[in-house]
């Protein structure tokens, strides 16, 4: 337990009480292992329903890196790679897990964490028109995150354009939704779960950062990727012995709109913080309305804020300013947000 109030990430606490309660209630029940129990099946059913498509394959994994690697391994042949923003999680923050499985991550420049259909088209055309194309990694999958690493989100038009470009070129579209709830709850979002399920070949709904102790729900629309997926889960270390723990948690999150409700809370807290920061005259690195606030703050202010509050250091902006990240989450208490606001207002 920290003696500061932590805003540095969205995984500082355990699970939403309703999620934890399900684990406690069912603790001594006996079920088969490896996610072949009835709780997993019920959770899969609820997720399919929320996505508006009965034909979707749904699998539960433990964490994000594992999920990304498993999906990419299911999709690519040896000579194929995955296009993503240079800032993409798989390109920067997974200790080369994708490369460790044999695949090159092909970074595309991105000021805001997003990539565009035009960039994908250009990269693919450049590949196939190159005289030495067989000497280069073949792009086959597009990895995006929504929200991105810097908190921005894709519009329905942008995701539709990406999807159409992927279809045109025979590329798979994979959306990393580690913070998907917080994207869907953003005031400026126009995407729905059924939209995402219809536009992507595969995506995942993050639990770890949105109310669960841990867990990610992979949703697969493209049957090529779904085939033999459980073999790949096992090979990549994601086949949880007590798989029901994942089913129970997602069942709770997808009961009575809990996932949406707790995501909305996080966004309300972020909006409140952002309003105070803006009022103070602070500016933002990649403006967004999700739960991650990358805000540029005078170093002198940070020194004072640090006395009571935790945040993530992002980067130096100039001699006297830094960009730092404040995160809210399902667990953020309004009194803590208010305390931070009071602290900032006094600076």
């Amino acid at each position: 337990m920290s003696d500061k109030i932590l805003f540095q990430c969205d995984y500082n606490e355990g699970a939403h009480p309703k999620v934890l309660e399900r684990l406690v209630q069912t603790n001594m029940e006996q079920t088969p292992g490896y996610s072949e129990d009835k709780y997993c099946e019920e959770a899969r059913e609820k997720i399919r329903k929320a996505c508006g498509d009965d034909s979707l394959a749904v699998h539960f994994l433990v964490g994000g890196t594992q999920t990304n690697v498993t999906v990419i391994n299911a999709a690519l042949r040896k000579h194929q790679g995955v296009l993503c923003a240079v800032t993409g999680h798989i390109n920067v923050h997974e200790t080369g897990a994708v490369e460790a499985c044999g695949h090159k991550v092909l970074g595309l420049p991105s000021p805001d964490g997003k990539i565009t259909a035009a960039q994908v088209a250009e990269a693919y055309e450049a590949h196939i028109q190159n005289d030495s194309f067989e000497h280069m990694v073949q792009p086959k999958m597009i990895y995006i995150s929504n929200p991105t690493e810097v908190g921005t989100i894709y519009s329905k038009a942008e995701l539709t354009a990406l999807s159409e470009t992927c279809h045109k070129y025979g590329l798979y579209l994979f959306l990393d939704g580690a913070r998907l709830g917080y994207g869907l709850a953003a005031p400026d979002n126009d995407l729905t779960l059924p939209d995402i399920a219809a536009l992507c070949d595969v995506f995942y709904i993050g639990g770890t950062k949105v109310g669960a102790l841990f867990g990610e729900a992979v949703v697969i629309k493209n049957p090529e990727l779904a085939q033999d997926f459980r073999y790949l889960i096992k090979q990549n270390g994601g086949m949880l012995a007590k798989g029901r723990l994942l089913g129970l948690q997602f069942d709770a999150l997808f009961t009575d709109g809990l996932y949406q409700e707790i995501s909305a809370h996080a966004i309300a807290m972020a909006e409140k913080l952002r309003e105070a920061f803006t009022a103070k005259g602070y500016t933002y690195l990649a403006p967004n309305r999700t739960n991650q606030i990358f805000v540029i703050v005078p170093d002198a202010h940070l020194a004072k804020i640090s006395e009571q509050f935790g945040y993530s250091y992002d980067q130096r902006i100039d001699a006297t300013h830094s960009c730092v990240r404040f995160c809210t989450g399902w667990a953020t208490r309004e009194e803590n947000v208010d305390a931070l606001i009071r602290c900032v207002e006094k600076l």
Copy 2:
């Protein structure tokens, strides 16, 4: 929830109540992620103490396959492989996870799930004396499990001989302790945690099957393997965001002898079952006194047992007999054992 009483494995239930209680008590506390919190540190300290060596590195991972792959990846160069019993978990039941990371598993014949120092010496000598040795995978690590896949255990003399042989040849000795508690609690066991920590380069203490919701504690004695180990945890998908969940569980298991106590319970239940089976005239595939009973049963009996009880089917023995596995565990209720015994006695 099954309508039968399940004996098919040791991960049919959740966690021991004292373990779950710790998760509930601390649920809304804020801590840093990735096992850099105080609970993990406390658990590491208790494990070092239980192993009698302050210098050990201790890391927490989520599951067994992930742990095996991470340890092996930390140890081997590209041309090196791992020797183990042909029945070893890494050779049979991890969907080729070790090979997927580039390393050959070199199987040694084993009637009882164990391998001997003599086998290791013979395999290593055969390698270095072969004219084409550079055309073959170089043995560099020995993987054993204790108890093994078939429930047998190593004696102190056997493990000491393996350790000495490994030192002689510059091989790493790795012990997979997914069910370590049940091995240490076996009536015929003469090994202690400090013995294992002294004799192995690396081993792990299984939590998933011994009282935790999930989790394995890797204990590293050899500094070559310890170097940069957290990079490898992350790359292999084992860096749990809310790492404290692992620390809290192992802290509970290593408080007031809980790990030993619940392991002893499982063994008492297994001994009771075994006594009834023996009285009935059943024989065993690989006799042992740990928590896995591989018993040979007439198919007609199995048909009746199946009506009320779950077990794992292992293999056909002859036209009218099969070998099946009954497992006990920390969660096994004596009334269920008694019900199974009554059922068998009536057959």
Copy 3:
């Protein structure tokens, strides 16, 4: 240059003079690189013709390990493995190259280097019927060599049965023909190149051991394996800059029946040697009529033979006998065979 006469392998000399002549004649010509020159195209055309199928894809690689790995990488998804005889080259003598690329080699017992359709069917059925099949590597490709590592060959009936079994189960059949010429030229062979091309998904025609300086010609019938194959050649280090060197050599070998002619010479030499060994009362490990003779010889005899002749030591048979290998090849001179025979006769 050795001062002994070497029979230890079929790659002790350079290339057949007609092959070398082509390299010399064309040495200063300018051609495009990477096997996109006219000589490669002509050689491809001749190989397609020799195989009786205009639709085959033909690619040239440098050596056998590289070829095996490239073909296997083209075929398998991450969770899939390759079934072969435990004695298979990929399982024993390629320093784990297949595993280094992520795939488990699943060894089947084999007294004579061959595997049968029945073994394949049994292994596949055992996999799909296993309760834990997703925890195990999925067999997807069958690797055989013809001749095998111990010189034996498949009959047309045996290869047809393997092919039918593979089709039945959706498995790929891959034939390693490092010594294919010597198999086709064996007196007891009933397979033709068109048979092999019709029955296998992919195979290769060995050049290194049959008249070329180096080089293997991969022949692909199954379009799934042919797709993007050149990417995989490049990734696996087999895209020779001066690719024409491969085309020129195979063009020479497939002109005027040279490949058949020089293979037949090697077999004639082996038959002559075998006759002398048999007359002497020696016996054989895996009787065959190809160019590798695994013969069991008294150690006292070996000591004398060693004074003038090179051979490969294979294994100890008993206290006074060893199995050794004598190889003939396209370059074997009859006077050397005669010298060895005289030496043996005098023992």
Copy 4:
């Protein structure tokens, strides 16, 4: 045989006549395989002498991609990556071979194909100072090519600075010398083979592009990389059965200064071409004095040049200009250079 005169690369012809002659002379000799023959040993000795260090390990491989992958595999643990210019061959033109073996290539910006000691220091410091360093690939090796992909070369001061930085941080320095001869022969070069051998942990001397049919000589100074290197050669498909072919070629190249002599010829031809281009008013992408000329030419001129001469298209510069590459080599005939110059002069 092309009907144009080809300047597009330095591997359009076969081998230097003196190299070929050695292969012809020795063709029917019998030698042991796998580079364990006397010719390889002699070539190793000559290379050690040319490098001024008797303790160097020297190994022969077939081609560049294979060599790069083998060296990198020998050096890195799983979580480690290799820093290089974004334009580096391993980052762009090897179909992800390094990633296929599990390692991330970490690209550094480079306008001229080179990277500096300062860039390496900055990248390494940024890594170790990052809070999430264990979530990122650890830089462990520096890959440079000399000449680079765009023909530029390192000065002795630059290479010394890189070497010192690598020592400071415990990084391996690897120099890809696919065109090393042409770099050493450049008028503005101040590096020698002994300098390179002293400053790098490992480098290779290219044969494929400098007089051999094929082949690269890896020179290893750091014993950590040398250990078990032949296992890695075999695993990566580079263990040529008739290894003497490599030894014979390098023996010829390192006899009587042939390597230096033919490299100097290529440079003389390039200088002559460059002079004509400059006189014509053409400019250069990355000015250099090695054998690759990246020259910016009006598209109208290119149309005419194309009628008689081959070159490589590099990139579009503006609406009416392109950058193309003309290469000279050991085999370039002065009459062809003169023909090209006459053609250009008339434009």
